[in-house]
């Protein structure tokens, strides 16, 4: 078996491949080719020397959909909606975009108001037809759209989660009259209530579909032309891979395609390490992603947004903050110190890269402190200009009357504070204590800051996985296929029994199985999980309760809900419960490569590369620099230490011990609890 995973980011295309015969894990980084990302992908494969016909599994993480949405480069969009609901996407929830600012504006929309057409039709909350669909009006909307050069159409009808007939019929008409154009309906994209959120998700899908679809189709074609015989799979926001052809029609599910890989990699690693509660911390150049994995399972985010627009398809609960290694530190009026969200990016990059950057970044601060001085930085392609880093930091240090070193530590501390807020968002804000978790730090800058983050949050252990710079690509190798199917239906437990629940779940399970079979899975490869969104009657916020396979009565369910509620809010309520949504997740399990095991060096001395002065908490200390590959296994040594490898540097502060285990992971343990 030969697996290949390729994660295409804005700057680099990362590849990881595993050959089960040679048991070798290959990884490499090549520059991305933003004009046509497919080129970068093919170049990466070719560089490895792998013969394409031999590949048995090919998975891809892409930011094409994400960038199309964020950069507003999507299709010219037309929307057909229920009469009276033209302005749902314009009004949204009527929130202010900038608090305490009379000059607030609403960001430019993804659709022009004149391209939102109303037609007569209406369903009720119970799914009954209140007014029949006027098909002529749909047809004349199409005529108008054709004259306007519309490239994608979203059909968004009120209460379509409860009855999709009208939407389906309207979509058929559009497809017939506009055969070249992408069409989707709100029921197929997100059959859940709340019209703004559902319409917005559907519109986003249509907005990114033509471009993403084109990219995926062309990529698959080009790879096939080059000899690839296995289907291309694409990482979805829900943490499973989908066949590219399926994703091409529902690309709103690929908006987290990039960061999802890291979460999946971390959850596989956590199994191997036998650590089941982890927080992932993926720090890149401009942003940092955090995700919680609890009991081996990553959480899902019910409130995803893309800028001003809700995107509510099932997605991993990944919290992103705009702070990374390239984040720029600056002073605002009144000498407020700020770090980010502006970033030096790839060009010019941090001052220390000597490519013309002059503004101080987090990476420069690490250089000033002696923490980041790789002899063969990023594979030898970049040299580190220490003086440039120092003068960039000194420039703002003077204004605050601080030493350059103190300023550098300050910048890192502040960046750490901001990044911890992304971790808090998914833990503390959910009523979960991060101190019960292990931090798994990766991404280009993650290993340098992981220990600092852990310390700030009071976490005792940090794991730096192998190949930290390519870890997300590794996730692509090991991800299953996953389909989430859900339906809004309010059911009070008092008046229902277990057969009602089974009846509601059955069609969802069928749908999940059908999708997986269509994706090429046999029954014995399919695993089904069911869960319910539940709340106390009258309450707003639902908790997702996993349904045990063999549940027998609704009281059991109610008890499970009480427990979950109590865990989160530290009290239980006397109220009765209701189900708001039924959810089924189908997994298509793939053969996955095992985690590689490493042999390690003979002794610690053999892994020493260098010694240099490194500053921690204002004190400069002679610190040993180790080469990661040469570290002996399971040998604990004390911080401060710097561990270098190709493309990454791990910083072990003085109050941590560190060792490497057989998976090649570095385990950093805090010496004392503060």
């Amino acid at each position: 078996m030969l697996w290949v995973g390729i994660d295409t980011g804005g700057t680099f295309t990362d590849l990881v491949a595993y050959n089960s015969e040679t048991r070798k894990l290959i990884s490499l980084k090549t520059p991305s080719t933003p004009d046509d990302h497919a080129l970068g992908v093919i170049t990466a494969v070719k560089k490895t020397g792998i013969e394409l016909p031999k590949i048995t599994g090919f998975s891809h993480g892409t930011t094409v959909a994400t960038n199309t949405a964020l950069e507003h480069k999507g299709a010219k969009l037309g929307i057909i909606t229920t009469r009276g609901y033209r302005d749902v996407l314009v009004i949204g929830r009527g929130n202010r975009t900038q608090l305490y600012d009379v000059t607030a504006v609403r960001p430019a929309g993804i659709v022009q108001r004149e391209h939102i057409m109303e037609v007569d039709e209406r369903s009720t909350v119970d799914g009954l037809i209140h007014k029949h669909l006027n098909e002529d009006q749909v047809a004349s909307a199409c005529t108008y759209f054709l004259s306007e050069g519309i490239e994608a159409v979203a059909v968004c009808f009120l209460h379509a989660y409860a009855n999709s007939r009208h939407e389906q019929r309207a979509a058929e008409i559009v497809q017939k009259l506009m055969p070249e154009v992408h069409v989707c309906t709100s029921n197929e994209i997100l059959p859940e209530y709340r019209e703004f959120e559902r319409f917005s998700t559907t519109a986003l899908n249509a907005f990114v579909a033509p471009r993403t679809g084109r990219y995926l189709t062309q990529l698959a074609d080009k790879l096939a032309d080059t000899g690839l015989t296995t289907p291309v799979r694409v990482m979805a926001s829900n943490g499973g891979t989908w066949p590219a052809v399926r994703m091409a029609n529902r690309p709103v599910n690929a908006l987290l395609s990039g960061p999802a890989g890291g979460v999946i990699a971390a959850s596989v690693l956590s199994e191997a390490l036998n650590i089941h509660d982890i927080i992932t911390y993926d720090m890149g150049g401009t942003s940092t992603d955090a995700c919680m994995i609890r009991n081996g399972t990553y959480g899902m985010n019910p409130e995803g947004m893309v800028g001003w627009y809700p995107n509510r398809v099932p997605q991993i609960d990944i919290n992103t903050v705009g702070a990374g290694g390239g984040s720029i530190a600056y002073l605002e009026a009144g000498n407020f110190l700020n770090v980010g969200p502006q970033s030096a990016g790839a060009e010019p990059g941090p001052a220390c890269y000597g490519k013309g950057g002059t503004q101080p970044t987090v990476t420069d601060a690490n250089v000033v402190l002696g923490r980041f001085l790789p002899s063969d930085a990023l594979g030898g392609s970049i040299f580190i200009d220490v003086k440039a880093a120092q003068s960039a930091i000194a420039h703002i240090a003077k204004k605050l009357k601080l030493s350059t070193e103190a300023m550098a530590e300050g910048i890192i501390q502040l960046a750490v504070i901001q990044m911890t807020s992304s971790v808090k968002e998914i833990s503390v804000m959910r009523g979960i204590d991060p101190r019960d978790f292990t931090l798994v730090a990766f991404g280009g800058a993650g290993p340098m800051h992981g220990a600092l983050i852990a310390e700030e949050l009071g976490m005792a252990r940090v794991v730096i996985p192998p190949l930290p710079g390519n870890f997300s690509a590794f996730g692509l190798l090991v991800a299953d296929t996953r389909h989430d199917v859900a339906k809004t239906e309010i059911m009070q437990l008092e008046f229902s029994d277990i057969s009602d629940i089974r009846r509601a779940l059955k069609p969802l399970e069928n749908e999940a199985r059908e999708r997986l079979r269509a994706d090429g899975f046999d029954n014995d490869q399919i695993r089904i999980e069911a869960s319910l969104d539940m709340r106390y009657v009258g309450q707003s916020f639902e908790l997702n309760i996993m349904l045990p396979a063999a549940f027998t009565d609704t009281e059991e369910l109610m008890e499970a809900f009480h427990r979950a509620y109590e865990q989160r809010y530290s009290h239980r309520d006397r109220g009765s419960g209701e189900v708001v949504a039924f959810r089924v997740t189908g997994f298509g399990t793939v053969d996955r490569p095992p985690l590689p095991s490493v042999l390690g060096g003979n002794d610690l001395a053999g892994s020493v590369r260098d010694k240099r002065q490194v500053i921690f908490n204002g004190v400069s200390k002679e610190t040993t620099v180790y080469w990661r590959e040469d570290l002996p296994l399971n040998t604990i040594f004390e911080g401060p230490a710097i561990i270098e490898e190709l493309g990454s540097t791990t910083v072990v502060p003085p109050n941590f011990n560190v060792s490497m285990d057989r998976t090649g992971s570095l385990i950093l343990d805090r010496k004392t609890t503060k």
Partner: protein
Amino acid sequence: MSKIDPVTLEIMTEGLISVVREMRATVFRTARSVAIYEARDFSCGLFDATGQVVAQSEDIGSHVVPLPWSVEQSLKELGDDLAPGDAILMNDPYRGGTHLNDVTIIYPVFHDGKLVFFPAVREHWADVGGSVPGSMSGTANEIYQEGIRIPPLKIMEGGKINNAVMELLLSNMRVRDERLGDFNSGMAACKTAERRLRELISRHGLDPLLASVNLNLKRSEKRMREKISSLPDGDVYYEDYLETFGPNGLEPLLLPLRLTIAGDKLTADFTGVSPQVPAPVNSTLAVTAASVFITLKSALDPKHALNHGSFRPVTVIAPEGTIVNVTHPAPAGSHGEIRKRVIACMLGALSQICPELISADIHRTSFHNLIGGIDPKTGREFVHYEWSAGGNGGFKGADGPSVMAAIDWGDLSTAQPSEVLESRFPLHIEWTRQGIDSGGAGYNRGGLGMRRSIMLTRGSASYSLLSDGAVMPPFGVLTGQSGARVESFIIRDGKRIDFPTPGKVGGFPMKEGDRLILQSAGGGGYGDPLTREIHRITEDLRAGLISMQAATEIYGVVLKDDNTIDQDASVEHRERLLKARPTLQAAIADFDCYKTVGYSRKRICRVNPADAQRFGQTIDDCIEILGPTGTPLRAWIEVDESVEAGQLPLDTLGLGVLGAEEGDDVKVRSLLIPVVT
């Protein structure tokens, strides 16, 4: 106080803000009423022992900024007697509150026996008793009709809830279980805050933490002082009105504001304001002062987090027993109306000295609509509370945003999903859209208001509206025009039923099949609509945001047969319109420019009958007078033969608003009220 380096300062500040964010998350996830979880009509704040705002997050200015008065009053009444394990509950407008629905929990946190912080939660409870479901009656004449008053009292003492009081309160409110849920969510948030504050104190030490609080307050204060210093010294005046109705219709209540800028200090003086009235148009000092602060913050210092330091250079003078500082027993439910009108006055005054920093008037009212009753299908009580936002004023950089919460509303959601409302209430939301032409015309157009049709599908219900701005529209600035005013009426059996007192309705009986049409106000326009670029008018026409009639009559464009704009003809036509604007010469009035009507006074302007005829105005019409500042002075016309033709006598205040002197030309226009479709 210990010296704190800038980095530690930021770290502690971030820590305090995250306490509030966590409180917010707790309320959001545990509350039970639609108002709280769909609309987020609640706020959390962290206060120091003297009641100053230390930290807040995406909270609602109208809740948080007045909270210090509540904390101060509670301290005054209970301060000596507070101990760990106590929690204060209050909503009394006469004693530091806003309106009765804003129920507040103030939770003292002690460290080593010393009171150090007050986390507080203010939630809009969907009902607190009183004469109508939802408690906000447009026709209340005493506070007793607005619900139950809770003076600052210990709802929890020594860690034990006072169940007798709790029971008494809940027994006086509709949908009691929901109210109990609201209370519990607030308490949960305060307890969370206490836990987190303890962690912060043990980590950083109390003194450095308090020192960082002070430093932050000082920094904000310094910034605000710098901003105020950059404004010219002197007085600037504006006046606006609230609405009540007498036997002969509108009886406007005068709200005059004099801003005095002296160096780095600013005083907002409401002396001369209407006395309080037995109608729901009164509010509290806390609300009035908060509105002054919110405007200053939003215009002068918009980019930084809010704390109380910004407000130290500001003094507010609001005489007791008036609509801006209400006392017992007048209704006090109109915080939303007083707030928006104080903001309007602030914008009107500032538009004369720093027009580049402000916007035109912002949708004018909080538009509290309530539909309540018993759903015959479930037999349960329901209250639907709807407060659709309107348009915001245009400003120098752009058109005003449409249907967006105003500056005093924080992150409040204002448009509720039809699919949620229809699943919970016996209501059918027929349509929800932007009201065409509701945005005030201008070089930069005001934002559009929201128009919604709500049908009662079964049983009967009671409709109440507590609002304002149903007669006087939001004003434009720099010659910009008025936005649409709020509107609400019933359609029954195909016939329109209007309410005798627009904007103020107390318990109108709705029948099955009745349709309620709601229109929130638009924003005022910024700059002269005749100068708006033709291509932007074309865009507005294409998007259906303005009608062809508005394009031709107000924006002065000429349409060709195919309804596209004739560029050349438009330029000429615009010039003609500009020249045809009626002009009078400002003169000094030798009479009182105000006339007493009902409880208060309104500005009048006397003109010669020939001029009145020339302008097409009739007696008792309200007009707008415009001078060099472009800020509209509103006045009611009176015909007076003794006034020389072509002259317009004004008092010094009026001339000041216009930026005009005796002998200058001033423009006169009717108070144009957009007709919304």
